[in-house]
């Protein structure tokens, strides 16, 4: 699992495409919340061995926040994705915008969203084998496990 994060409009998508040499759309199942894709809770529907999930922060707001136990729900999702990843050559790349560094939002819903997003990202980073921060197209690898 590779987690790619950074501010909005910092070139995260472009970096992933460049880093993984994704020139042909057939090589990858690219699910973007920005294009209204839904969160893949069922891994059996994944048609490719390389899957990109883009727009995590929005899925967290729209599909995770209203769960009774959002963090537990997220943990289970991650476990399902990791289980899928452990099979053959499967790999998942998660792209999430960092929304945690602005002024404290006035609405409690936005505050909750911000908190939950931060916690979900920490969970991803715990499990991810690699984490990159993207800053205006430049990446900084902040975690990388040795390949086993």
């Amino acid at each position: 699992m590779h987690f790619v994060t950074g501010g909005a409009f910092n070139g995260k998508r472009a970096w992933v495409k460049k880093h993984y040499h994704l020139t042909c759309p057939k090589e990858v199942l690219w699910l973007s919340q920005y294009k209204s894709a839904s969160l893949p809770t069922d891994v059996n529907h994944l048609t490719h061995s390389l899957v990109v999930l883009e727009g995590l922060e929005n899925w967290i707001r729209l599909e995770v926040m209203m769960q009774e136990q959002p963090e537990f729900y997220w943990q289970q999702l991650l476990e399902r994705w990791m289980e899928w990843e452990s099979q053959s050559m499967n790999q998942m790349i998660l792209i999430g915008t960092d929304i945690t560094k602005g002024i404290v939002p006035i609405s409690s819903e936005e505050r909750n969203w911000r908190d939950l997003t931060g916690r979900c990202y920490q969970k991803i980073s715990q499990h991810a084998s690699r984490v990159d921060l993207i800053w205006h197209g430049i990446h900084q690898t902040i975690k990388q496990e040795a390949k086993s």
Partner: protein, 180 residues
């Protein structure tokens, strides 16, 4: 041609760092320090802020060129050895958006990048300061989204062209590009 990009949050110390960097550079190049002032004195608060800035810089040997839009016009005032500082890209972008007749944002972006290239070619070092405003947790309106998107794209294109890029946090510059 050298472009230095310096970006950080509000009150991160990015302007101070940029000014120090410029002064250091001008000692090396022997060129004049040019400050491109993009601020428009729209009200009394802005007027007094601008005056204050002008006084501060005059003491330090800066030459100020006022240019709110179409920054490439500055090229005729500068020389090959000069160090040019533009602080900041967001003010300039605002001016392009709101002081001029409406145009497509993509068009504005490509013009700004061309302006930057023209200025960079006619001086020793062009230092561009900008604001990091890509980290909040609000569901943005279409207008704000468009603004962030175009600013983000400008930043990425500037970083691509930059010889050095710094991310300033709490007064500490972190070199993101151009290290040895």
């Amino acid at each position: 041609m050298q472009i230095v990009f310096i970006c950080g949050g509000v009150r991160s110390g990015k302007s101070r760092f940029a000014e120090r960097w410029a002064q250091q550079k001008s000692l090396n190049s022997g060129g004049t320090l040019r400050y491109v002032a993009t601020g428009v004195p729209s009200d009394s608060e802005m007027k007094s802020r601008i005056q204050r800035h002008q006084q501060d810089r005059r003491l330090d040997g800066w030459n100020t060129i006022e240019q709110a839009t179409d920054i490439r016009a500055v090229a005729k005032h500068i020389q090959k050895t000069d160090i040019v500082l533009l602080d900041c890209l967001t003010t300039w972008l605002n001016n392009e958006l709101y002081l001029k007749p409406p145009r497509k944002v993509e068009h504005i972006r490509s013009e700004m990048i061309q302006d930057i290239e023209v200025i960079a070619r006619s001086c020793h070092t062009l230092i561009l300061v900008s604001n990091d405003l890509f980290f909040d947790a609000t569901v943005d309106s279409e207008l704000v989204l468009t603004y962030k998107k175009v600013l983000g794209k400008i930043h990425q294109q500037v970083v691509e062209r930059a010889t050095k890029a710094f991310h300033v946090e709490c007064g500490i510059p972190i070199m993101m590009k151009g290290g040895k």
